[in-house]
């Protein structure tokens, strides 16, 4: 098997495997803003990594240049991906879960959602820590609205990740 694995992985590179679905494709009523929060925190982390990345000095070796460009490309790609994840998760909850009675109680629901969409787009376009932090704050507000509509008290707890920050989670 140990020989077969790299062989199959090589084959995957040449001809990708088919996708087999193992997910829920009916309205199951299961929604959770956790992924959106993780996505927003990841955007912050990518900004941290980009800011900390040292550009090679003039005359640096090609290998050092390549390493720098490789790291930068990866950080930007992950930032893009997770900002888009935030938009998708929030859009689904906003469109599929929230009902008019929720809007009556939380008049800022639409503006919060709209703000998240705009901030996530800016987070993709720019290297901007303030935008990333504002995005996290808005997603946390969205999470608080979500859990309130379910009558679930929440707390803010440390993410316990390198990025720092907090997550809004059910209190119990």
């Amino acid at each position: 098997m140990s020989l077969l694995r790299p062989l199959l992985r090589t084959l995957d590179g040449l001809l990708p495997p088919r996708r087999v679905h193992a997910h829920c494709d009916i309205p199951c009523g299961i929604y959770d803003p956790h992924l959106a929060q993780v996505g927003a925190l990841t955007v912050i982390r990518m900004n941290q990594l980009i800011e900390a990345l040292q550009k090679p000095a003039d005359g640096a070796s090609k290998l050092d240049q390549d390493r720098y460009e490789n790291s930068l490309a990866r950080y930007v790609a992950v930032k893009e991906e997770h900002a888009e994840l935030v938009k998708r998760e929030v859009r689904v909850i906003w469109g599929d879960y929230f009902r008019p009675e929720h809007l009556e109680k939380h008049g800022n629901l639409h503006s919060t959602t709209w703000s998240i969409m705009k901030l996530a787009s800016q987070a993709r376009q720019q290297v901007n820590m303030q935008v990333a932090q504002d995005l996290v704050a808005e997603v946390q507000r969205f999470a608080e609205i979500f859990w309130d509509t379910k009558g679930v008290p929440v707390k803010r707890q440390p993410s316990n990740q390198t990025v720092g920050g907090e997550l809004v989670v059910p209190a119990n």
């Binding site: 040449l14 679905h21 193992a22 829920c24």
Partner: protein, 126 residues
């Protein structure tokens, strides 16, 4: 040249008794996580039928282009609950479930799958 090679490999793969798949979604947690890669044997069911507990790839009964990863939970002759009613599986019918029951679309919603909808048995993960 690369495209020609791809076509050859694709042609060989179509004839092969095994297929490769990458898992999408979480309905088979904890057994399979999203991104897991598996090899499925299409040959094994040529000489025997799927039995309870088999991990299989089957086609969605309402969308035959959509392969699903499920576990056989009941076989022909057994009684199961579909929706709100009891149902006895007929000949050539299999009842399949996701291991992550709270987040799975399976025979509870789309009913049993037929033999012709079963692609093969999961052989190993790589």
């Amino acid at each position: 040249m690369l495209e020609l090679l791809r076509r050859v490999v694709r042609g060989l793969a179509a004839m092969a008794p095994v297929s490769r798949y990458v898992v999408e979604g979480s309905s088979m947690l904890p057994t399979f996580a999203p991104g897991d890669r598996i090899v499925v044997s299409r040959a094994v069911y040529l000489w025997r039928s799927p039995v309870k507990g088999d991990l299989i790839v089957c086609k969605h009964p309402f969308d035959l282009e959509r392969p699903l990863l499920k576990r056989v939970a009941a076989v022909s002759g057994e009684s199961v609950v579909i929706g709100t009613r009891n149902y006895r599986l007929g000949a050539g019918e299999w009842y399949v479930l996701g291991d992550n029951a709270d987040g799975s679309s399976d025979s509870r919603s789309f009913g049993p799958v037929e033999r012709r909808q079963i692609v093969g048995k999961v052989w190993f993960r790589y």
